[in-house]
């Protein structure tokens, strides 16, 4: 045993000069991002999503050219790239496609975020560094959002490039604005799944189980979700049984609200309105007055909404999606903060 005060005194000057760690979450996020970008799953998902978006467009380019020229206002021809759904093959438009397939991205980049660290024995080491515990979840979530943004921007870039080079559709400022808003909306949508994946990685100890649950829920929502919710809506609000127009409209509104319980509906409605300036309503008319107004508009040959009007129309959808993402992330966050470090 040496003299008691000696040891700390010797180490003191070194520490005093040491810089404070810049926000720990950024260090975690940088490491996670470089992990993601070098991972096989990133390239696989990028190729799958890119191919799935571009291949139908390629085969449909003739039809697209015709559709673009017949579009209500040639100023918005560029947006047809994202809205066009070929009639002869059952392929959804690009936004519908993103709505169904992109959640894969979210789940894939988050399902093993925490539980893999736990399984590898790196979590106690990571948490014993001078960072706050929430820096770990925050950093991982931020890195996931960054990867999602990169992938979505890349896919949209490929589609736009295809439109510009092959079809000669050059976007105007408002179209660019609409597409960018839609990309942001899509990031929030996939962010919801990222937060859900993160929640699974915190609550489920085994990464494989978390992946199964995550992809299972995705499959259920993507394939059967609207079917099931539609069925429930049909039972709760049987439109066919309505005796008057008012009742019919009321039931239609109710049925719509029920469908919107599904986040996928919210995302697709919001995407449709943001990408298509001819969409002037997001809900069915709730009163006879609105119905008449709507019919008059339809007869007049369609009316184009400006960008801010479209955004205003779907603002509640955006807020709702954002709130769901926030709730999911908060659940993962709180759970993680309360968890014991040791399994």
């Amino acid at each position: 045993m040496t003299a008691e005060a000696q040891a700390p005194a010797a180490a003191q000057p070194v520490r005093a000069e040491r810089s404070r760690p810049s926000s720990g979450w950024r260090v975690v996020a940088a490491k996670e991002l470089s992990d993601h970008l070098g991972s096989a799953r990133f390239y696989i998902l990028l190729v799958v999503l890119g191919a799935a978006a571009i291949v139908p467009l390629y085969f449909a380019s003739d039809a697209l050219r015709a559709a673009a020229s017949s579009f209500d206002d040639t100023r918005f021809a560029f947006l047809v790239l994202f809205l066009y759904a070929p009639q002869d093959v059952p392929i959804p438009p690009v936004f519908g496609f993103v709505g169904i397939v992109a959640p894969l991205l979210g789940v894939a980049f988050a399902f093993d975020a925490i539980n893999a660290e736990r399984a590898d024995g790196t979590l106690p080491r990571l948490l014993s560094q001078p960072i706050y515990r929430d820096d770990v979840v925050n950093g991982k979530f931020a890195a996931g959002l960054a990867v999602i943004t990169i992938v979505l921007v890349a896919v949209v870039g490929v589609i736009s490039g295809f439109g510009i080079v092959r079809l000669g559709l050059v976007p105007g400022i408002e179209e660019v604005l609409r597409v960018l808003t839609w990309v942001a909306l899509s990031v929030v949508w996939v962010g919801l799944w990222l937060a859900f994946g993160l929640l699974l990685s915190v609550t489920i100890r085994r990464a494989a189980t978390a992946a199964l649950v995550g992809f299972g829920v995705w499959l259920l929502v993507a394939i059967f979700g609207q079917l099931i919710v539609g069925l429930i809506a049909g039972i709760v609000a049987p439109i066919a049984s309505a005796t008057s127009v008012e009742e019919q409209l009321a039931l239609a509104t109710l049925s719509e609200s029920i469908l919107r319980l599904l986040p996928l509906t919210l995302y697709q409605e919001a995407s449709r309105v943001m990408l298509n300036p001819t969409e002037t309503t997001v809900s069915t008319p709730a009163t006879i007055g609105q119905l008449q107004q709507w019919q008059a508009q339809q007869q007049a040959g369609g009316q184009l909404l400006s960008f801010d009007q479209s955004l205003l129309l779907v603002w509640p959808h955006v807020v709702a999606l954002f709130a769901m993402t926030a709730i999911c992330f908060a659940a993962a966050y709180v759970w993680f903060m309360r968890q014991e470090v040791r399994a």
Binding site: Q6, V27, D120, G121, Q129, Y132
Partner: protein, 349 residues
């Protein structure tokens, strides 16, 4: 500790203000308690680790060693009592504590897709070391643990012993005042254990750190620890040097070993005549005499008397040494005492 509702305000704590109290004991706990529901993992623990010593926390798996360590690092909230690490409360200033305490977790892991050096680089960044300083530190610690030549291999190709050494390098990277090692020698082959313990000894000498290590492998850490604490069922049932503990928990006797060359007189009578020798037995296999000396503090006097007796009685004494008490025996005795108490308590309950 950060909470769900908000993180504490990040401000630079003056490390110096806290040092006045930490200089005497870098680690000190008062009635530290951790409950998991009904189960008490750590029971009113009073522990003091002095500056510059290697303190061994010994106990079986599940005795509460890791829980104690996690509380010292602010990674688990205590249910009661208080802890001071480098003079700070770990649950209120976890960042400052973690900045100054290096920690090697039980069965440490690294990111397998990264090299050893990259793993350390990540730790350096988390500690806020700037780039140039970090590279220098990394080279230094890798050299100290003897991993410099394998540092650029992926860690999923490392053996358990190499991971353990990398873990020590990782803990040293922040140039800590206190090093906490949880089971540093578990699941390593005997030669690796010797290497790691040697390494720790050397590091403590070179860097003047305070070390707290936990282990259930008693004979391994016996030689390296200045003091040990025996931990059982969440309670510290004995603290001191191995010798002191032997006095408390041993049989109250010292043990000597004497060897005589052939051709001399029969030593048995001479040995038994020495005052303080309670028993003298010849081990027929090895030809050595084992002596039980009571009371324990008489052993020095007894040794002198034996040398005198040998000289005057024509015995050819070739070696005479005191047998170190085995920590394992002490531990067994200590736990046995506790065991009976625990059983009694259970009966009362």
């Amino acid at each position: 500790m950060t909470t769900a509702t908000g993180r504490p305000i990040r401000r630079r704590r003056s490390g110096h203000a806290a040092d006045a109290s930490s200089s005497s004991a870098p680690i000190r706990t008062r009635a530290l308690t951790k409950r998991y529901g009904e189960r008490i993992a750590v029971d009113t623990l009073d522990l003091e680790v002095r500056a510059g010593e290697i303190f061994g926390l010994l106990g079986q798996n599940g005795a509460g060693k890791t829980t104690t360590i996690l509380m010292l690092l602010g990674l688990t909230e205590p249910s009661g009592g208080s802890a001071r690490v480098v003079g700070l409360d770990p649950s209120r200033h976890p960042l400052e504590v973690k900045r100054r305490v290096g920690y090697l977790p039980d069965s440490v892991g690294f990111y397998g897709n990264m090299t050893g050096r990259e793993n350390l680089r990540y730790t350096a960044r988390l500690n806020g070391l700037d780039r140039g300083e970090a590279e220098e530190h990394i080279d230094l610690v890798l050299d100290q643990v003897g991993l410099a030549d394998r540092a650029d291999g992926r860690t999923d190709t490392y053996s358990r012993g190499m991971l353990q050494r990398l873990g020590i390098a990782d803990a040293l990277l922040k140039d800590p005042d206190v090093l906490i090692l949880d089971e540093p020698t578990a699941s390593i082959d005997p030669i690796g254990v010797v290497e790691i313990l040697e390494l720790l000894r050397r590091l403590v000498r070179e860097r003047g750190m305070t070390v707290l290590l936990s282990s259930h492998l008693l004979d391994q850490v016996q030689h390296i620890c200045d003091r040990v604490g025996i931990f059982a069922d969440g309670r510290l049932i004995g603290v001191g040097t191995v010798g002191e503990l032997a006095g408390t928990f041993g049989d109250g006797a010292a043990h000597l070993e004497a060897t005589f060359a052939d051709g001399g007189a029969d030593p048995s009578a001479a040995l038994r005549r020495v005052e303080g020798v309670e028993a003298a037995e010849l081990d027929p296999d090895t030809g050595t005499w084992r002596l039980v000396v009571r009371p324990i503090d008489a052993s020095a006097r007894v040794r002198e008397a034996i040398v005198d007796a040998a000289a005057s009685g024509g015995l050819r004494l070739t070696s005479l040494r005191e047998l170190e008490p085995s920590l394992e025996d002490i531990y067994r005795a200590a736990v046995a005492g506790l065991g009976s108490r625990a059983v009694r308590e259970e009966v009362v309950a």
